[in-house]
Amino acid sequence: MNFGLSDEQGLLQDAIRGFLEGQTPLDSIRKFAADGNGLQASIWQGLIDLGATGVIIPEQFGGSDLGMFDATVIMEAIGRTVAPVPYLSTAVLAPIALLGSGSDAQQQDGLNKISAGDVTFGVGLTEATGVRRDAGLTLTGTKLSGKALFVMDGLKADQLILAVGSDTLVSVSATAAGLTRNRLNVSDKTRGIAEVLLDHVDCELIGAAGSATQTIEKMIDAGRIGLAAESFGAAEILFYRARDYALERNQFERPIGSFQSIKHLCAEMIADLEPCRSLIWYAAYAYDELPEEASLMACHAKANTQEVAKMVARSATEIHGGMGFTDLMGLHYWLKRIELNRQLLGGPEATREAAAKLQGLVA
């Protein structure tokens, strides 16, 4: 029994963290945010070179056939560095869609390209996790019309995977005739979130119409676990920056970290954070090994981590005083990543309600 990273997973973590940390000094993050693409080519290429896009893809399609747990390790590293990469959609959700419902030809083509880093995906599941305003898609034959909102990583992706209702998956080229995508001006400028408008656009079904319910559920589970891991990574960085700042900054002739109110904020943050790590690890492990527990664990991992991460972001910002409110420290990039993740694929209230449903507690 080992509740934690295996030696290989530890090496993977070191490699990914080491690479991403080198690529994301604060000045660079500012530039990425100013570009607002959510996709920084050299970082993305570096992840491809490290084999990160193939971790959940079987070897026959060029992947390394590891699992969601390993993908979670990578997502956490992305959160720690607020790296602008379409990892969740391309390397986690798209493979799950193709493996779960794709035809042999779609798998052969799509999965090999993902492993090799030849394609990026955006994914829109909002219809399956909560419709806002006039969002909604209709499918007539292979023609897709309507509006997909909050397409994750969709702004610069080559290909989009969209859920039609909660039982059908389609794939469309981002450059298809009749497709328009607009940037959604979210506060986290390191992400490329899009609104996609479709007017009789040619699409490819992933599986027959109405047959993808289970696949979509798996995508949502994996997405929730991945987002939780990303937020955890971001929160842990915020926490340690606050602790370090508290030991450095002096007021009243002493480090502010000697004031008990600051110490206690730190103690509360770490006490709430640590269990999230275990919850996320377990949820990812359940996704790979204990499928009957996966959905419930994904809900709790997402809801609990997002609540804690929000509290950590608040406390860490507060501990930095005025500095916390400025752009000088850049703390806000991590805070905004946490804030966006909180809402994606269901906020805490929605995911807790989903958890209750899974246990038969909702009449």
């Binding site: 029994m1 509740f3 730190c266 103690a267 770490i270 919850l279 690890w281 492990y285 609990n304």
Partner: protein, 407 residues
């Protein structure tokens, strides 16, 4: 990450399940086993003996001290705990003697002390209380004043203890006394074993928030005990006491128990109705329940992570320091939800026809005990930040002629 159990452990789990199947009917009720108002009854002791014989409690305590003499196997410990909780069967006596004194004696006691006390304690024949806190020494325990002087081959103890749980029915007390009044405060303390029948001990019950008299004041006047009742060295009692406190923190923060409480809460919420609507069908209550479940799962898995780290020889970090703190508040909120779900009926208390199977009000009131006892939550946060996160202690202050001043 690999959470599979070896064949040996899978077989062990089956064996535990088999045992529970066979004995479930005859096991005494959980509450009866660890009552706070009286010594263990004969049937509880019989159950304790069965558990020891089968290695389900006192598992790693050597045979020569009356234990089962099993090898240290954290996974087997985990399996026992999981299966007993799932079957709602008591894992036997806890209490301060078993949870705190016995591990301390195993670590620091003399051979004679081990032989004399461990077996009798784990079998429930000798009940202990913990004589640490004093009116002037709570969180700042090392400022304790109860003193003991050596006269011939005896310690003579004078002073006062307070909050001494179970003192009114205990046979023995492990007590902290000042033996070196001139030494710095942490260096003048000794750890003694004091028979409660000794002349000069007066125990006065203190009624608590729950209405029970579970703890006491203890007045000590010229109490004489043999000098061989010292554990560890004279003046080194602070170190001995800290070894004990470590075990107490483990005892108070047990997420497995909290899980059983959560299951009881779910059962309550499925049964209890207001305006004909079940609590579980009210979204606001349901959301509170799910929040608590998420936190509980986090803590439970965190404990599993700590166990795994221990198993794999990883050095402990701040992770272990958070368990008691987090579990105490989680329990408190869990019982609060039980009370809120029952509404006005939730304030009923201590036996009323309208109460549910469990006394939620009493459990809610009782939950303050682990927020305060064994080091308050605020003190835990000091410990987490200082020992866990390397943050400084706050300076001391004193009232000078011009008001408060730093020392």
């Amino acid at each position: 990450m690999d959470l599979t159990f070896s064949q040996e452990h899978q077989d062990f789990r089956k064996q535990v399940q088999g045992f529970l199947e066979e004995h479930k009917g005859t096991a005494p009720n959980m509450k009866a086993v660890n009552g706070t108002s009286s010594a263990p009854t004969p049937s509880v002791k019989r159950w304790q003996h069965i558990l020891i014989e089968n290695g389900y409690t006192a598992r790693t305590i050597p045979k020569e001290y009356g234990g089962y003499g099993g090898e240290a196997d954290l996974i087997k410990g985990l399996i026992i705990q999981e299966e007993f909780i799932a079957a709602d069967v008591s894992t036997g006596l806890t209490g301060q003697g078993i949870s705190m004194l016995v591990p301390t004696l195993l670590e620091l006691g003399t051979e004679e002390q081990k032989r004399k006390w461990i077996s009798a304690t784990i079998r429930g024949d000798v009940v202990w209380c913990q004589g640490y806190s004093e009116p002037g020494a709570g969180s700042d325990l090392a400022s304790l004043k109860t003193k003991a002087v050596i006269e011939g081959d005896q310690f003579v103890i004078n002073g006062q203890k307070i909050w001494t749980s179970s003192a009114h029915f205990s046979d023995m007390c492990f007590i902290l006394v000042r033996t070196e009044p001139d030494a710095p405060k942490h260096h003048g303390i000794s750890y003694l074993l004091m028979p409660m029948t000794t002349q000069g001990i007066e125990v006065r019950p203190l009624v608590t928030i729950t209405g029970d008299a579970m703890f006491n004041e203890m007045f000590l006047t010229d109490v004489k005990i043999g000098s061989d009742q010292l554990v560890g060295e004279r003046g080194k009692g602070w170190m001995v006491a800290n070894a004990t406190l470590k075990h107490e923190r483990g005892m108070i923060g047990n997420p497995a128990q909290t899980e059983a409480n959560l299951n009881a809460l779910i059962k309550l919420m499925k049964a209890e109705t207001c305006d004909g609507i079940r609590a579980v069908d009210m979204p606001v209550f349901r959301d509170r329940l799910m929040r608590l479940q998420g936190r509980l799962l986090g803590l439970k898995l965190h404990s599993l992570r700590l166990l795994s780290d221990d198993l794999n020889g990883k050095a402990p970090d701040h992770g272990g320091l958070i368990v008691k703190y987090s579990t105490a508040y989680l329990n408190h909120e869990l019982y609060s939800l039980g009370v809120d779900v029952m509404g006005e009926l939730g304030t009923l208390y201590g036996g009323d026809a309208y109460q549910s199977e469990l006394d939620w009000q009493k459990m809610f009131l009782g939950s303050f005990s682990s927020i305060i006892g064994g080091g308050t939550a605020q003190i835990q946060k000091n410990v987490i930040s200082e020992r866990g996160l390397g943050m400084p202690r706050e300076p001391r202050v004193t009232m000078g002629a011009k008001g408060w001043a730093m020392m």
